[in-house]
């Protein structure tokens, strides 16, 4: 939403985190760099154990920074204690104060700051409670709340106070789907009105895609890719990102490049495919993986300019899942998945199906390095 260099609220530079464990040092974060700009939502996306929680805790001040620098609003905060960093944090497992009511939980950050009048505090609490559907539970204690409500209190408490950056740990994970949409709309509205900067920590790629302006993908403590949601989905920088984002995951076909120029590709089983870029441009002889998302494949309908797999493929499984239908076909001995919107009637009655693709939707990766080719 808001962009522009020099507008960086949080700057993470070559940050490392090493834990000493009983079985030796654990290098949980290895040289990750990124920045969160004013008014944007940045998602830190990675599986469990990828180091995203460590990153979050280092930014918030709950962990010591082993190496590198983190700056907030232009000031390096490596040695600044958490209460002076002007950061707010919404924990995934809520961390609500159990002995006081929801209202007092929400008030707490404001009361602590000491700069607001009682009226001002009450008004803010009302607003936040109204936004996150907490009005009926304001006078209850955390132990009486459902998971969804608890999560909203945690979120409300983080957003109620003005801060340079709000860090949200899996804010949507315990919500039912409808409420999720409401919270997404609410967060976007609040972001617009108050020019909030938010960092979202999650392992759920859907959450990252629907709520963020940019995404940084990490795995095993290392940076994978930084880009807009659209870029992450349509141009994954390496095999990890290609496989991690997207459900069902991207189909990967084994292939080998002979270093010759041109857009032609051949899979290990001999199927010829046409890419949209010149793979052989650097004339290297190497093993490749051709990626096609299940959603980028369709049932060929015989149109003349259509690119198709030359052979019809045997259909192993047909799953009708409401909005989509998933076909699992056999391609050179391995499963190939095709996702079709169920409103389109496609001819899937037969045992063998002819599959079509668009060359622009082929992704080619070097099997050794995992990196994307030809971007």
């Amino acid at each position: 939403m808001n962009e522009g260099n020099g507008n960086e609220v949080v700057k993470v530079e070559d940050v490392h985190k090493v834990y000493s464990t009983s079985s030796g040092p654990l290098h949980a974060v290895r040289g990750v760099s990124f920045e969160c700009r004013l008014g944007e939502t940045l998602a830190v996306l990675g599986p469990s154990g990828s180091g995203k929680s460590s990153l979050m805790r280092m930014i918030a001040g709950l962990e010591h920074i082993s190496g590198g620098r983190i700056s907030i609003d232009g000031t390096v905060i490596n040695d600044v204690p958490p209460e002076r960093r002007n950061v707010s944090l919404a924990f995934e497992n809520y961390a609500l104060y159990p002995s006081i009511t929801v209202r007092k939980n929400l008030e707490f950050p404001l009361v602590n700051l000491g700069q607001f009048s009682r009226q001002e505090i009450d008004k803010r609490v009302q607003d936040i409670a109204a936004s996150f559907r907490l009005l009926e539970v304001l006078d209850r204690k955390p132990v009486e709340l459902s998971g969804g409500h608890s999560q909203m209190v945690s979120l409300g408490r983080a957003l109620i106070k003005p801060a340079s950056v709000h860090i949200l740990d899996e804010p949507l994970s315990h919500l039912d789907l409808q409420f999720r949409n409401e919270v997404v709309a609410k967060l976007r509205t609040m972001q617009r009105e108050r020019n909030l900067s938010m960092i979202l920590i999650t392992h759920d790629q859907e959450e990252a895609l629907e709520l963020s302006d940019r995404v940084i993908v990490i795995n095993d403590g290392q940076f994978q890719q930084l880009g807009t949601p659209k870029e992450i989905v349509s141009a994954p920088a390496n095999l990890f990102v290609a496989d991690f984002v997207g459900e069902p995951p991207m189909n990967l076909l084994r292939s080998r490049s002979d270093g010759k120029a041109g857009t032609g590709l051949v899979t290990e089983g001999g199927t010829k495919l046409e890419a949209a870029i010149d793979i052989g441009a650097d004339s290297r002889d190497r093993d490749l993986l051709i990626g096609i998302r299940p959603t980028d494949l369709f049932v060929a309908n015989g149109a003349s300019r259509e690119h198709t797999f030359q052979d019809e493929l045997p259909l192993n499984m047909l799953e009708e899942l409401g909005e989509v239908t998933i076909l699992t076909l056999d391609f050179e001995g391995l499963p190939l998945r095709v996702v079709l919107p169920s409103r389109e009637k496609a001819d899937t009655a037969g045992v063998r199906v002819k599959i079509g693709y668009r060359p622009e939707s082929l992704h080619v990766f070097d099997r050794q390095t995992g990196l994307r080719l030809g971007s």
Binding site: G31, L252, P335
Partner: protein, 305 residues
């Protein structure tokens, strides 16, 4: 190709340009040696000394010959080391006193722990009206000062013909410790997730078998802690041993120790220190076991996490 086509095709994506970094380059938070910390350590050292010195003194005294003790008085280092005190004391009191203490201690511990655990299980897993009242009633038995019932107990024991018998001591110690055993085991039973027992029921095991095969093995720590408390109580118990038994009959070690203090030759320090150290030994060993046990094996998570 199931979990991820990725795993079968290629390893995790790596960044080609990243060079390896020595982990040792990274700083860890270190505790700082401030004046406050040094002062605190000093205080602790002084306290440790104050507590350990008497034991040292006992040890020294126990290996000195009686003659040296009577003539030279207290010293910091023995003039000569002899184990005669130990030999004498063991010969005199191994049978029956030390043996009685062992038997009474072990048998009453086993009984109290077994019955206490069963009671705890019943109270914890079965819901019935007045459950908490029953639990409190059992615990309240222990709140009575033992000396208040000393005479009645003696009379009862005599009337059933068990005066000066090991059996009487065993029964008494068991009954005294049941409330404590039940109370301690109750919180340990509570810590065994009920899902484990439910899973075993669905797996085809009857409730008592579930108790024996699933609950009990997971109560190891609780049983150990309870058993040690109870054994130490029985081992050290003096009042009822004094009232009900006689030295030379069913009398226990504390009784034997007492006789050493009242002999016609005055207090025989050497043998007394030796016997005292022998009396302390099992307690020390058990305590060390508890510490080792607890620090190693308290994590019993059967439920995820």
């Amino acid at each position: 190709m199931t979990t991820s086509s990725l795993e079968e095709n290629v390893g995790p994506a790596t960044s080609e340009t990243r060079s390896t970094v020595a982990i040792g380059d990274f700083s860890q938070e270190k505790a700082k040696w401030t004046v406050g910390r040094m002062l605190a350590h000093l205080v602790l050292v002084i306290f440790a000394f104050v507590i350990l010195f008497p034991f040292y003194w006992m040890l020294v005294t126990s290996v000195r010959p009686q003659t040296a003790i009577s003539t030279a008085g207290a010293v910091l280092w023995p003039e000569e080391i002899t184990f005669f005190n130990y030999e004498q004391v063991i010969a005199a009191h191994l049978y029956p006193a030390i043996m009685n203490s062992f038997v009474a201690g072990i048998v009453s511990t086993i009984l109290a722990v077994a019955l206490g655990t069963l009671a705890a299980y019943g109270l914890e897993r079965y819901r019935f009206r007045g459950r908490e009242d029953v639990a409190f009633f059992i615990l309240s038995q222990r709140m009575m000062p033992p000396i208040a019932i000393a005479i009645p107990i003696l009379l009862i024991i005599r009337s059933i013909g068990l005066a000066d018998s090991l059996l009487a001591l065993i029964l008494l110690y068991t009954v005294f410790n049941l409330p404590l055993a039940m109370w301690i085991m109750r919180s340990f039973v509570r810590s065994v997730p009920v899902e484990l027992e439910e899973a075993a029921l669905v797996d085809g095991y009857r409730p008592f078998t579930v108790f024996m095969k699933i609950t009990v093995p997971l109560l190891r720590v609780g049983v150990a802690v309870t058993a040690i408390f109870i054994f130490i109580f029985a081992w050290n118990e003096f009042l009822f041993a004094l009232i009900i038994t006689t030295h030379g009959g069913a009398g226990t070690l504390p009784l034997a120790l007492a006789t050493l203090a009242g002999s016609p030759w005055g207090i025989e320090w050497g043998p007394m220190m030796a016997l005292s150290l022998i009396a302390i030994l099992p307690v020390l060993l058990l305590y060390a076991t508890v510490v080792l046990f607890l620090s190693r094996g308290v994590n019993l998570g059967g439920v995820r996490g």
